[in-house]
Amino acid sequence: MDEVFKALADASRRALLDRLHARNGQTLNELCDGLDMTRQAVTKHLGILEAANLVTTLRHGREKLHYINPVPIHQIGERWIKKFERGKLAALSELKRQLEKRDE
């Protein structure tokens, strides 16, 4: 579990997860495209995400594809959030979303 929190405690790595969330199953080249990070940095961050089991890689033909793996985050949710009334949290998130939308 420590690895998950450490992996998430970095904005670049969260950005990589966001990119995979937007489009799952990307190659390293696709992930690097348009990012302000060197290829080496992206590779290093992906290694940390994979070690924390937040990213899974698999070979598809000649390509190595990266997939977001939300299972550890789900487990964090089950352990710490669900106990504390997810319904109310969902209502608060929705309220925040609505209020912020009005500011746009």
Binding site: G25, N53, T56, H60, G61, L65, Y67, H74, Q75
Partner: protein, 176 residues
């Protein structure tokens, strides 16, 4: 590796790939994936029935015995890999979305095993429709892990996501 003629796994691309580490022997994970007495506890009460040979039937039944998932075994390497067609029995779903493949891979990783679940399709499937698998599989896999590690499965209340039901309806696919 033997494969069915009708389904060529090479034509399928994984849309969802989830991995979980479980402190259990590969044999126990394999049993839990292939036997109804386990699946009823972690898979929303559903009973798996699988004839473990290529071309063998794979089904999942709801607690009232109704057929929810039907398919067949495409790849079977006991204790290592199981690929099945995994088609939800909703009217017109198979015609509109094509077949769904589900693969389980079990790899020893030190004292634990790494279980990877892949959901693959032979065409692009919208995020709305994939939201069903994205919501369901993490809960199912977490529950399976807890069952094998503690003997007690997690009870996770699950409802099909509204956006998935709406997308299916739009495609003319019947939902319960």
């Amino acid at each position: 590796m033997s494969k069915r003629n009708e389904i060529d796994v090479k034509n399928f691309k994984p849309a969802i790939v989830y991995t979980i580490y479980i402190a259990a022997a590969p044999e126990k994970v394999w049993e839990a994936l292939t036997q109804a007495e386990f699946s009823r506890k972690y898979f929303s009460g559903q009973a798996v029935e699988v004839d473990l040979r290529v071309g063998g039937a794979f089904v999942m039944r709801t607690p009232d015995g109704a057929l929810h998932i039907s398919g067949e075994v495409i790849e079977c390497e006991p204790l290592k890999k199981l690929t099945v067609t995994f088609n939800v029995n909703w009217p017109a779903l198979l015609e509109k979305l094509g077949p769904t493949l589900v693969t389980y891979e079990i790899e020893p990783a030190g004292d634990v095993v790494k279980l990877t679940m892949l959901q693959s399709h032979d065409r692009e499937i919208s995020d709305d429709i994939l939201s069903g698998g994205r919501t369901g599989w993490p809960a199912i896999l977490s529950s399976l892990k807890t069952l094998l590690e503690t003997g007690q499965a997690l009870t996770i209340q699950m409802q099909p996501p509204e956006r998935m039901l709406a997308a299916l309806k739009e495609l003319g696919i019947g939902t319960p």
